[in-house]
């Protein structure tokens, strides 16, 4: 499991993360929920080592962060991570070259599923297509954890449905999934655990199934409670 303990981060005099702790378990989809600027992206980047933290610890499967660990996690950020001049097939080749756990077959399947053209240049993709390609890059790896930052932002409705399909059919299995989103509506029914953030603190951390059965509340209901006041 991904274990985040009391991480802090200060950026330009602002405490972006104020002692955040939570766990994301394998076989579950955990969602970080918060308004814009709550620090969700920062947390994912911290787990991926893309930004250093000022305090606290992050452990994955009990191990501290190291280059070896990144064999087991994939990150799908909200931006393209390959040079715009590259063609899609070159991008796939790069992944194959550098990621020992790259699954070329799965990549083929996903490329067909999303109907992506191999000869397209990455820089020319529309936002929706780019997001789909990002998903391919993240999900065609045989990893234990997948992190996704705003996978649905700016995507049209039908694309979103297709992506949600992928979540249910292929994604989880025995992987741990950690996503951030502020549009919880599309996948509310898929999320297992919700961690709500505000001003760099964790204000709610609950199991969604329990919340539904014991309190009769959906995630959105809790959000209204928490963020309206």
């Amino acid at each position: 499991m991904i274990e985040v303990s009391d991480i802090r981060k200060r950026y330009r005099r602002k405490n972006v993360l104020n002692g955040i702790s939570f766990k994301a378990e394998k076989g579950r989809i955990t969602s970080l929920i918060g308004l814009n600027g709550a620090g969700k992206s920062t947390i994912l980047k911290a787990i991926m080592g893309l930004t250093p933290v000022d305090g606290g610890s992050i452990r994955i499967g009990g191990q501290p962060l190291s280059p070896e660990i990144y064999h087991t996690i994939a990150f799908v950020p909200d931006r393209l991570t390959l040079p715009g001049s590259m063609k899609l097939r070159d991008g796939l080749q790069l992944m194959s070259d550098f990621y020992p756990r790259w699954n070329a077959e799965k990549a083929e399947d996903l490329m067909s599923f999303f109907r992506l053209e191999r000869g397209e240049r990455i820089g020319r993709l529309s936002k929706g297509t780019a997001a789909k390609f990002n998903l391919v890059l993240g999900m065609a790896q045989d990893v234990d954890y997948v992190l996704m930052d705003e996978p649905f932002s700016g995507i049209d409705l039908f694309s979103r449905e297709r992506i949600a399909e992928v979540f249910t059919s292929q994604l989880v299995e025995d992987r741990g999934v950690l996503i951030t989103t502020h549009e919880i509506g599309d996948i509310e029914h898929l999320v297992d655990r919700a961690v709500m953030l505000d001003q760099g603190h964790v204000i709610r951390d609950f199991d969604c199934e329990e919340m539904r059965s014991d309190h009769g509340k959906s995630i959105i209901d809790v959000m209204r409670e928490v963020y309206r006041t």
Partner: protein, 277 residues
């Protein structure tokens, strides 16, 4: 090891068009420049022949032949301009080879930093690629002079030609500062040059870790090292320095080796713990 080589290839491949462009520009300007220089010189000589009523053989007797190195200096600016451009271009790319990963629509730096391999490989592979560019231009320059020697042989009349070997020709040109013929000169120029590249690489990483303060610290250290080495060079020429010149050289070399180690170690540490994407 394979990852390192693949990363080096990645860097070389990304730059291939620019490198090709620099090579084409340098070749064209230097070769055309030589043709023009030979044309001018031959014209001037023909004029002198008619005025003084000499034959080519008599001219050669009186005034000696003209070696390639001398014709080169007719269009000195044609020859040195491309070199300056290349140095400027590579110099700029010392910074761009890093910064291009950060800036732009795609965050390629995310991908590079997330690779399941030691991040230090990024540092070393970028350095290797840059050195490859430098040495490929070095090799190109040698090749261009070789081609120029052939052009010279074809165009200059036998009476005026002074046959010299490639090394001999280069030795007599100012060019020899960039393509040295002596091993210890080569080690000094390219050895010290490489260490400065390492210092700049680590400065860039300092900037990416500590922003403006980091940039300032890195640049100050690099500039300080440059001035220290220049000072040592100046001291060597004075008789009153407490260290003999050979000792100053040894000290300068030791200093640069230390700086190389420091840059590599610090760069590695910054990549591992402080750099932010």
């Amino acid at each position: 090891m394979k990852t390192y080589l693949k990363l080096v290839h990645l860097e070389i491949y990304r730059f291939r068009l620019v490198l090709l462009g620099l090579m084409a520009m340098t070749s064209a300007i230097q070769l055309i420049g030589l043709q023009l220089a030979m044309r001018d010189r031959l014209q001037a000589i023909r004029g002198q022949l008619t005025r003084e009523g000499l034959s080519l053989a008599q001219y050669a007797e009186r005034y000696n032949g003209i070696p390639l190195g001398e014709i080169w200096s007719h269009r000195e600016s044609w020859m040195t301009f491309p070199i300056v451009i290349c140095i400027g271009g590579i110099g700029l790319y010392i910074f761009l080879i890093w910064y291009r990963d950060w800036f732009g629509r795609s965050a390629f730096v995310y991908r590079l930093l997330m690779l399941p391999h030691s991040r230090f490989l990024l540092y070393v592979s970028k350095f290797t690629a840059l050195m490859t560019f430098v040495f490929s231009l070095f090799a190109l320059q040698i090749g261009i002079v070789a081609v120029q020697m052939t052009m010279y042989r074809l165009r200059m009349p036998d009476e005026l030609r002074v046959p010299r070997t490639l090394v001999d020709t280069i030795r007599g040109m100012d060019l020899v500062l960039f393509i040295p013929v002596r091993l210890h000169e080569f080690l000094l120029v390219y050895g010290f040059g490489s260490v400065f590249v390492l210092l700049l690489f680590t400065t860039i990483l300092m900037e990416r870790s500590y922003r403006f303060k980091g940039l300032l610290a890195g640049l100050a250290y690099t500039a300080g090292t440059l001035m220290l080495v220049a000072w040592m060079w100046a001291q060597a020429e004075r008789g009153t320095a407490l260290l003999y010149p050979s000792e100053l050289l040894a000290a300068a070399i030791a200093l640069m080796l230390l700086n190389a180690a420091l840059s590599l170690w610090l760069g590695r540490w910054l990549l591992r713990t402080k750099v932010a994407a």
